[in-house]
Symmetry: C2
Subunit: 356 residues, 2 copies
Amino acid sequence: MRDSSREKNKTMPKATIDNVAELAGVSIKTVSRVVNNEPNVREATREKVNKAISELNYRPNQSARNLASHRSRLIGLVYDDPSAYEIPSAGYVIRMQQGSLQACKTANFELLIHPCNFNNKNVAAELKALIEQVRPAGIVLAAPLSNMPKIVRAIESTGTPCVRLSSGRKNGEQYSVATNDREVSAEMTSYLASLGHRRIAFIKGNPAHKAVQNRYPGYLDGLEQSGLKFSERLVQQGDNSIGSGEKCALTLLNRAKRPTAIFAANDDMAAGVVRVADRLGIDVPAELSVAGCDDISLAQQIYPALTTIRQPLSRMAEQAALALIGGAQKRASKGGVDVIPGALKIRESTGPAPKE
Amino acid sequence: MRDSSREKNKTMPKATIDNVAELAGVSIKTVSRVVNNEPNVREATREKVNKAISELNYRPNQSARNLASHRSRLIGLVYDDPSAYEIPSAGYVIRMQQGSLQACKTANFELLIHPCNFNNKNVAAELKALIEQVRPAGIVLAAPLSNMPKIVRAIESTGTPCVRLSSGRKNGEQYSVATNDREVSAEMTSYLASLGHRRIAFIKGNPAHKAVQNRYPGYLDGLEQSGLKFSERLVQQGDNSIGSGEKCALTLLNRAKRPTAIFAANDDMAAGVVRVADRLGIDVPAELSVAGCDDISLAQQIYPALTTIRQPLSRMAEQAALALIGGAQKRASKGGVDVIPGALKIRESTGPAPKE
DNA sequence: GTGAAAGCGCTAACAC
DNA sequence: GTGTTAGCGCTTTCAC
């Protein structure tokens, strides 16, 4: 037992606020003020306290803070469980996590992840239980859960702030973060038109997925903006799968007057289009331009690399978490939608329209 | 103000243990016993309490429990931050998360994710801070962090249980979960030999990545088990990147007596090999068999789909989290290594050796 | 089997 | 600016 034992912070019993107060010669309330960056502390006092804090290697006990303040430094990221279906959505999930983590990092919050199956009858109850037990400072709620009123209401009923990630707009009363899916889909369509394409086909996504819903109207907007006229024969209904993309492409490409560009509501279907074109001996992009949506990792991996629309998922999640953290600290923030624009990723699968 | 207000649990103030005790006509200690599944409660009492609990929709406040018991129902998953490099490791991370989540789910624990950059000087301090603030029940520590003594010691010093995910064995004193990388690499080599291959080349991975370290010895084991003799000319040093795989493949395949099979220490390098073979007009698998390691998503997406070794990452993480949860509940568990075997994934990139 | 009392380490409300 | 006094909602210890 050496008595410089304080230097060895190995097994030193954790310091409490009382120890710090004692060592600094102030009350615990003052220590609390310093730790929480509250005003009304003389600079000299603040320094004394800080010195004691670092000397004792003091770290506030979160559980105690939570209990006393009814708040925590935890953000919950709640999303639909992709593993229930397939792995490809990994990129999706990871990007949301990255954004949320980024926000947490700078604010010294931690991130809890809670995937859940949106088909499950008990999700609402499950989420309520999660919230009431963990009492996170806020919930970042991803699509499609963010579009389910029952879920949103369940979370609201706990009083825990919740920011929804949603691709549409007008999402109820609370603050939410969205992207401009429709506008950017129009932009993609106009881009294809600007390459000289006149017959631009569209493959619609699974109608059950709201995220995909705004892309078709965007396509229509784009046609209009480019002075192109709409033709029903250029629109096919897919279901978001590669297979459905193939099927639609087959229909579209076997016609006498086939489209010179195909814009699919997601990357998987676009990949299906590329695959069929390859099989049919139609060169992409020389004879056919193909564009997708989402910028999943597959988009870069296939040949030719897919022109697509990058969802700013990471930035959306970051924005959402930041709002929660800010709100948790300022106890404010309400209503409105922040729109974070998506971006066209022009790659190899699109090019000038072929000469007739 | 209706007085059946209890049924509407909408904005009902959260019930506390006192409310439950009162309604059940017992002391809070008894409620606590029931909630924690402790013995020494008469069945009738237990039922009374449970009835009160569900009637009041009572949920124990985790913060209060944590504070009083110095334990939490949170597991921390700590891994190297892939976003610092590139996205492909998404599959890796997701699988670890899935395993950990699986374990948490059944035990009603929640998962905290904390990626951190292992190059960062302050990781150790960062993790200590995380632990001391959040006080998770345990930490699942992924490679390569799990192989860094400094990190492991930092976590240990907090007294928080930690299970390491590691591809090697003999990993210090504490309990850890590993896979049989070496054995299964030998198995892959033997499998190639069983297809009639005599010149089986190996591309070594980045020596800095311990996870990849055991594969070369495994290759050697496999050669020996198959009665094949080792040749230095069949071994190349890569660095885990696709590019390095291409470079090594070029060297290997431009020789007069080229190998009929190439086994790469990871999938990216194997993908590089496939790419070069394609460029050189060498048919895979008719003229050249290619095998990788890890079963990243790319492995299934390239053509031909890659034969590889699937790391049981998800099951490893699940096992680790389960051990932590069990330990947290029984306050025990120490030492040893659990080995969860990897599995050969035979796909299209390997086939019978060509006739000479 | 059950209960009473004493904290866990902090923040909140208010006094000084 | 700073300190005092009460809790937050539970678990623990120990008495019964």
